[in-house]
């Protein structure tokens, strides 16, 4: 059908040319005009014949291809059973289509040409931009906003503008690249290759491998990009354990989808264990618990980061789903020559969305993550001019934290959220931050979202308003209110199913990060 109509389109174009040429012919001679017309008619006829022939050849070729495909893909099938054609030629009529369909509209130059699309493009492309407006009672916003993609100053911040590309590399691999641009406090542009990885699509035994640089599959929020969070800033405990940029590094991951009657998947990630993106590990840039960091080299495979995770999900009813997971991350740390860090985490997510939902509303969700850290701190002697020398012993430190958030999508496009988080004081931390206090914050959020869910490129816009209040034993009264507008596309995978999370707050247990080093997450 497509071929026929295409021919019609061409014929019209030729005729139009003929008409345009007529006036000159009239002015000359009728005889000549007739002859010209005759010639044109002949030409046209020839063209039509040629096209018809071509169409016939095409059809024969298609048939041949279909037969061949059928033979190779389904040998036991009786000969005429053609294999399902790939989805790319949508115009191809089903063999012996039952009812006479109307012919397709003739092709015209204004018809769309798919370059990028969710279903069958070479590449999915999206640009996700975060734009923050923030204010707080403290002039130094970075003391309370720990995340690298949190608002950084009173006024406006563009903390995370990312270009996200994904698509199939070949029949066996899918590729993802995430390039992040951000403006720092001095309005310098920082660029970061945040994630680049390949995922296998056809490994046997329900296995899937991933390789490249990627966020470690630990808990829920660590795997999500900031534009997918429900609150403007990151949770306090995430900042404390994984730093401003989250846990991610070059590495590889293997996962196994278990053949259980419910969703059940086990992951093992092995990654490099150094740098600011391995915050609690071999991080030579950060002074944790007062220990000046050492440059530690990788001596054996045990010095890499190992992160196992298990996640399971149950549909309690048609409208309620629960996802739960346990994660761990183990690697050496930089506080001594033989010291290691262990981080454990548990996460729970519940979502209610009734079958009568329209546009994804109403819904309610609850998400909680708890993380605990066992930090072997090496012995250190601190000498500061004018201050007495302090000897810090080798010791094992524990700290932990939790955040919990509830979201309620009460009417189409409107979501209200409330989050609370708590982190323990750092037991045994160095003398300079001797407060053994706990820190609590609460954040409330109101978000307006544009519809999302129809295409995988440039999908949604959200405006989030988060206001938070932090209480800590020695400091009171920071009330930052952060508004953010974010035209974005939350490309979350199913493990990041549903909505996402939020917030973050001050942490006095460690020295303030050096902003200049901060990189995007």
């Amino acid at each position: 059908m497509g071929k026929v109509s295409r021919r019609v389109g061409m014929a019209i174009a030729v005729l139009a040319l003929g008409v345009a040429a007529l006036p000159r012919g009239v002015r000359a001679e009728n005889e000549e005009l007739r002859r010209e017309l005759e010639a044109m008619r002949k030409q046209l006829k020839q063209m039509q014949e040629q096209l018809e022939k071509q169409a016939e050849i095409n059809q024969k070729q298609e048939e041949l291809i279909r037969k061949l495909t059928a033979q190779t893909t389904a040998p036991p099938a009786p000969a005429p059973a053609p294999a399902a054609a790939p989805p790319s030629p949508p115009s191809q009529p089903a063999p012996s289509a039952p009812a006479p369909e109307k012919p397709r509209e003739p092709w015209s130059p204004t018809q769309p040409i798919t370059i990028l699309s969710g279903a069958r493009g070479y590449l999915n492309l999206s640009f996700d931009a975060l734009m923050d407006f923030g204010w707080s009672t403290t002039p130094d916003v970075t003391t309370i906003e720990r995340g690298d993609h949190d608002p950084l100053q009173r006024g406006f911040t563009l903390p995370n503008e990312e270009i996200f590309l994904d698509g199939a590399v070949d029949p066996y691999f899918k590729g993802v690249a995430d390039l992040v641009f951000k403006l720092d406090e001095n309005n310098e542009t920082e660029v970061e290759l945040e994630e680049v990885y390949l995922t296998t699509t056809a490994l046997p035994w329900n296995l899937q491998a991933k390789g490249g640089q990627f966020f470690t599959e630990f808990g829920r929020i660590n795997q999500q990009h900031p534009h997918a969070w429900d609150f403007v800033d990151q949770p306090l405990v995430i900042g404390r354990m994984f730093g401003p940029e989250g846990l991610r590094n070059p590495g590889a991951r293997l996962s196994w989808l278990a053949p259980t009657p419910f969703y059940s998947e086990a992951f093992l990630t092995v990654q490099n264990s150094h740098g600011g993106t391995a915050f609690s590990f071999r991080n030579a840039d950060e002074e944790l618990f007062g220990r000046p960091p050492l440059e530690r080299r990788v001596r054996n495979p045990g010095d890499l980061l190992y992160a196992p995770r298990y996640a399971a999900s149950f549909d309690l009813t048609d409208s309620q789903t629960v996802v739960a997971g346990l994660s761990g991350a183990f690697a050496p740390n930089a506080s001594g020559p033989n010291t290691r860090t262990q981080i454990y985490g548990g996460d729970l997510y519940w979502k209610w969305k009734p079958p009568w939902q329209a546009g994804g509303f109403p819904f309610a969700s609850w998400q909680t993550e708890a993380l605990g850290r066992r930090y072997e701190a090496g012995a250190a002697t601190l000498e500061r001019p004018g201050l007495p020398t302090v000897a810090l012993p080798r010791e094992t430190l524990f700290d932990w934290g939790v955040y919990s958030q509830v979201l309620y999508g009460f009417t189409q496009r409107w979501v209200a959220g409330l989050r609370g988080d708590w982190v323990s004081g750092d037991r045994g931390a160095n003398s300079r931050s001797s407060d053994s206090s706990t820190t609590m914050t609460t954040a409330s959020s109101l978000a307006m979202t544009a519809p999302c869910g129809c295409r995988s490129s440039s999908c949604s816009a959200r405006t989030r308003l988060t206001s938070s209040n932090e209480r800590e034993r020695r400091h009171h009264g920071n009330d930052p209110t952060i508004a953010q507008h974010e035209p974005s596309d939350p490309l979350d995978g199913p493990r990041a199913w549903g909505r996402r999370q939020a917030q973050g707050r001050r942490d006095h247990s460690r020295p303030r990060r050096r902003r200049a080093r901060c990189r995007g997450r």
Partner: protein
């Protein structure tokens, strides 16, 4: 019964897709919001794009409203055209044919059974189609307004005309500006019917109905397992409701 545009990619779907031999997707990007991540995690080469086990129902369907220009300012426009073609029974026959072809390619041994099934479905649709067309023949040319653009194929098949939607643009909730423009237009065109799906809110449809004298008719767009357990009974009951409502609603001036 769920709003098909906003299905959550639940982890339990991963397990189901992982074990499937055939995946039938509506196509025309109806599932683009949630199916791709499921497929990525399902690691099932039998149903990967281009495999015999991957069926795109939209294949071979003449899609309406293929956009000639496309960007997000136009709302939730599907780049390949309006994906709600299943409500046209003739299109459903084409889809059944597509599915049968795929089943035969995947499971050749039982191909004769699938052919029988296909023939039975086609005959049933053909038999019903005559009844349906007869029932709706007196209503030919009737103008209706729908909430979303998901009954266009249905009304086109039965010769009725969709003259507007409550949504200003696909997927964008009704706005006062749009409704104040729509109401006089509905009055001028003597629109007697507002068709909405069961999951829609009622405030805006009722408001428009009050101001135009039109009736609100709730028509399921998908089999619900109760009143309309399968496709044929769905179309059957939709047409019955349509006829009953329009018979009861006197023409407004």
């Amino acid at each position: 019964m769920e709003d098909p545009h906003f299905v959550d990619a639940k982890p339990s779907f991963i397990r189901v897709v992982n074990q499937a031999d055939v995946l039938i997707e509506g196509g025309a990007a109806l599932e683009a919001g949630w199916l791709p991540p499921i497929l990525d995690s399902a690691r099932n080469p039998r149903i990967s794009a281009g495999s015999p086990g991957r069926v795109v129902a939209a294949q071979g369907i003449r899609l309406l409203e293929v956009p000639t220009q496309l960007d997000r300012s136009m709302g939730d426009v599907h780049p390949q055209g309006n994906p709600h073609f299943m409500l046209d029974p003739v299109a459903a026959k084409t889809v059944a044919q597509t599915i049968q072809t795929a089943f035969c390619a995947v499971d050749g041994a039982r191909c004769p059974d699938y052919e029988v099934g296909l023939r039975r479905f086609r005959d049933a649709v053909d038999a019903k189609l005559a009844t349906w067309q007869a029932a709706l023949a007196p209503l030919k040319g009737t103008k209706v307004v729908t909430y979303h653009k998901d009954f266009d194929y249905f009304f086109e098949r039965f010769g009725m005309e969709v003259v507007g939607t409550l949504e200003p643009k696909p997927g964008i909730p009704p706005s006062p500006t749009h409704l104040t423009e729509l109401i006089p237009r509905m009055r001028a065109e003597h629109v007697r019917l507002i068709v909405i799906e069961p999951f829609r809110e009622r405030n805006n449809p009722d408001f428009v109905a009050e101001n135009t004298g039109a009736r609100v008719l709730v028509l399921p767009a998908m089999p619900d397992g109760k009143d309309a357990p399968d496709y044929l009974s769905l179309i059957d009951s939709d047409i019955r409701r349509l006829v009953d409502t329009l018979r009861a609603a006197p023409a407004t001036s």
